[in-house]
């Protein structure tokens, strides 16, 4: 639906390495990106939120949203038992209905990666682990790399790292860049999702710059939030990030995923995000490889709405498992 601007990439490998060669050139590049008008961005997100998704379109969206969920538990009270239960739900979200697709991944703390890996066995559901001193990221680079290596060694397919917001806000873009590149290296073959923690970046200009910075540094997916800071994911923030991945592909030829996380609880919210993806980055991003929801309670609402569409009535919450 949404065509690319052209096949000509304006940032080839050589020019990319120019941009990232020094703190000064990186700063010049990031500050040269088109500005984001706060009011206009929010108005556009609000406008797209009025799309009315009904019947067949809603069925399609619900199943797609389920398949895009990173089913998440990131609590101090997490235990192997809790993680095993979540893994079982991730593979078969609705035990009464085998046509429900599995979710994309489970997302846990590094010490529970091995448990999740064992519980998921040969399932298609991926294991994602937060790392790098999640959620604040206030540890040394050595600790971040060790954290990452351990998670990957224990079987994580995907690593969700946090950026050093303090360094970003202080304008030390090179430091943020180097850190991501180092963690990317520690990831090996594992996919790297980089959390911007947009609630702490505050402005959309910062969100756009941070998105480009982490994409240049090697992120496979850019993610909004840890879920530990309010506001977490919002539609306008996700809009700005979707514009960034769209423009990044147009200029470099490389496609990057997007993951809003935190605060997405209802089916209608999830559908609004999918509309945003469809009309901003385009349908190439409408797949679990390129768009994820970091969520936990969203899944049950999607299951409830899905069942309602099939049976015509709502079942009570007790009919959906709490794992």
């Amino acid at each position: 639906m949404t065509p690319r601007l052209g096949d000509v990439t304006t940032l080839d490998e050589v020019r990319l390495s120019d941009v990232t060669s020094s703190e000064a050139s990186l700063r010049q590049f990031l500050h040269g990106l088109p500005a984001v008008d706060h009011v206009g961005a929010e108005a556009r997100a609000a406008g797209l939120a009025t799309r009315s998704i009904k019947t067949t379109a809603k069925q399609f969206a619900i199943d797609l949203a389920i398949s895009m969920i990173d089913l998440t538990t990131l609590e101090g009270q997490d235990t192997p038992g809790k993680v095993r239960a979540m893994c079982s739900k991730a593979q078969r979200p609705d035990p009464s209905d085998p046509t429900v697709p599995p979710v994309a991944a489970v997302c846990v703390y590094p010490d529970l990666v091995a448990t999740a890996r064992a519980a998921l066995g040969s399932s298609t559901v991926k294991v994602a682990s937060v790392a790098t001193g999640f959620p604040s990221g206030r540890t040394s680079l050595q600790v971040k790399q060790a954290d990452t290596r351990e998670a990957v060694a224990d079987g994580a397919d995907e690593v969700d790292m946090v950026i050093d917001r303090g360094a970003f806000l202080a304008g030390h873009y090179g430091q943020v860049f180097e850190e991501i590149a180092a963690v990317k290296e520690a990831c090996g073959d594992a996919h790297l999702k980089v959390i911007l923690e947009t609630g702490e970046l505050s402005t959309y200009d910062n969100v756009r710059r941070a998105s480009w910075l982490v994409m240049l540094a090697g992120a496979d997916v850019i993610k909004t939030s840890t879920g530990k800071v309010a506001p977490a994911a919002t539609l306008p923030v996700t809009l700005v990030m979707l514009e960034a991945v769209r423009d990044f592909r147009d200029t470099t030829g490389r496609q990057i995923g997007v993951k809003p996380a935190g605060g997405i609880r209802a089916t209608k919210d999830a559908i609004r995000y999918l509309v945003l993806v469809n009309e901003t980055a385009g349908e190439d991003w409408l797949a679990p490889e390129w768009f994820r929801f970091g969520a936990s309670s969203l899944l049950n609402d999607l299951l409830m709405q899905r069942q309602k569409m099939i049976t015509g009535r709502y079942a009570g919450p007790d009919y959906f498992t709490l794992d």
């Binding site: 206009g40 961005a41 009904k54």
Partner: protein, 482 residues
């Protein structure tokens, strides 16, 4: 086949009861026209006939003006401002209560998307009545002297692009200031004004304070030339506006005219580009471009021209053209066959004059009046599509090199209703707004309206202001011995 196909999401039209025929609303009642002639109102999206509408002749115009005069002398002029405000508040609340009905009716009769009638037109209508209701008892403090007086009977003629909103812009300030009105809606979109007449009855507005007569240009001319009308307020084409100005010249009648436009939407190289693209889209494709203040001339700084055009074209491929009652429709139907013919004619002229025409791939319905969103590039100031108001979903793109050239090109038009400026630089916004000869200058936005903000033109875009405190002045004897 697209991956995520939005299923049809039609708004139900069951909420609206369209009668098979409508009379004239004179003296608080619906009456048949003296001569008994009528015309048809058509749904432009389907060409279905919606209703037979009475055509007001000379006797009917006389009767309406006389009803307005009687209401003015007997009741309305002696009511306190607070009591007038009470009626206006009541009307505003009823409009909110019946907003869905009004929105559906407006979309059926006009062809505009329900998303716009629901989210823009009708909320603005209610807001306008609320706003002027608040002024009714505060006129002594509006800056027009200690006891400003109304003119008496106002004759008001409105266009078809925002039927009910233009009615609100006319009736709300007129009533708040103590005038009574005879209003003529456009002949292609009379239905929401006739529903408004029912709302006046529901609000128990004294008979004759609002009279609504339907008809075409002849009816309008009779109203303009009527000797007992004190004030004319017109929104519409510059051609008709000039005729009205000639007609009232040398009489004691006052006139405010809100006419055509050919607004420049100026995008500088430091603009927030994604939002500028949204502003370009809403500037020219909102309401199918049937907007007098539409941003129909896009002026892009040459250094970002390729980028802006690529972004704009990509964005236009996501526009959804079709059934106005579908909640996901972005661009609806052209209001009439006549208007469609004009848009086609001017677009063909654009092509023959050498501009390059582009439209996104879109399927248009078989029946009804439709025109695809269209962009002309390679347009110069000399092209007719850069000078004449097309009043349709057609954008002419021009370029500039320096701020001075942008100003020169933007002002190089007989019109001066609105303009847009897109830049991240605050000082440039202020400088541009001082240079641009336009009644409204939007900065990093476009087509934003608020009842508290005055609206009106420079040059051939008309004179007088509507909206805000300034809008009161159009209906008050200001600077005259009361």
């Amino acid at each position: 086949m697209t991956k995520f196909e939005y299923a049809p999401a039609p708004e139900s039209r069951a909420i609206v009861d369209i009668k098979s025929s409508y009379g004239l609303f004179i003296g608080g009642r619906f009456v048949d026209p003296t001569q008994g002639t009528s015309f048809k109102s058509v749904n432009p999206a389907t060409e279905e006939v919606l209703a037979e509408i009475a055509e007001a002749g000379r006797e009917d115009v006389d009767a309406a003006v006389s009803a307005a005069r009687t209401a003015y002398t007997k009741t309305w002029s002696s009511l306190s401002g607070r009591d007038r405000g009470k009626y206006l508040f009541r009307i505003a609340r009823i409009i909110q209560e019946r907003s869905r009905e009004l929105a559906v009716l407006e979309s059926i009769d006009n062809g505009k998307p329900i998303r716009e009638s629901r989210d823009a037109d009708i909320p603005q209508v209610a807001a306008h009545f609320f706003y002027y209701a608040g002024w009714a008892d505060k006129l002594n403090y509006a800056g027009f002297g200690t006891n400003p007086q109304p003119y008496g009977v106002a004759g008001q003629i409105i266009p078809w692009n925002f039927p009910l909103l233009m009615l609100a812009w006319k009736i709300a300030p007129a009533l708040a200031t103590g005038n009574t009105v005879v209003l003529k809606p456009a002949e292609t979109t009379p239905l929401s004004a006739l529903l408004f007449a029912e709302i006046c009855q529901q609000a128990e507005l004294p008979p004759g304070v609002v009279n609504i007569i339907t008809g075409a240009g002849d009816t309008g001319q009779m109203l303009v030339e009527h000797p007992d009308v004190d004030k004319i307020a017109f929104t519409g084409s510059t051609e008709v506006g000039k005729a009205i100005a000639r007609s009232v010249a040398g009489t004691s009648k006052k006139a405010t005219l809100e006419l055509g436009g050919k607004a420049a939407n100026v995008v500088f190289d430091d603009a927030p580009l994604d939002q500028a693209v949204e502003g370009i889209v809403s500037g020219i494709f909102f309401n199918q471009g049937h907007v007098c203040c539409a941003g129909s001339r896009l002026l892009v700084q040459e250094s970002v021209y390729d980028d802006v055009l690529a972004r704009l074209k990509r964005r236009l491929t996501t526009l959804r053209v079709g059934d106005p009652l579908d909640k996901n429709t972005d661009v609806g139907a052209i209001n009439s066959a006549e208007q469609l013919a004009r848009i086609r004619e001017l677009s063909d002229v654009g092509e023959s004059e050498g501009a390059e025409r582009w439209s996104p791939p879109c399927e248009l319905p078989d029946r009804g009046f439709w025109f695809p969103p269209t962009v002309f590039t390679g347009v110069s100031q000399a092209h007719r599509i850069a000078r004449e108001e097309i009043f349709g979903p057609v954008l002419s793109v021009l370029t500039f090199r320096t701020p001075a050239e942008a100003v020169e090109k933007a002002n190089n038009t007989p019109y001066g209703l609105s303009a847009g400026v897109w830049t991240d630089k605050g000082s440039r916004i202020l400088w541009m707004s001082q240079q641009l000869r336009a009644g409204v200058v939007w900065a990093n936005t476009f087509n934003k309206f608020d009842p508290s903000s005055p609206f009106g033109g420079y040059k051939e875009s008309g004179y007088g202001r509507e909206g805000g405190r300034h809008g009161l002045e159009a209906y008050l004897k200001v600077g005259e011995a009361a």
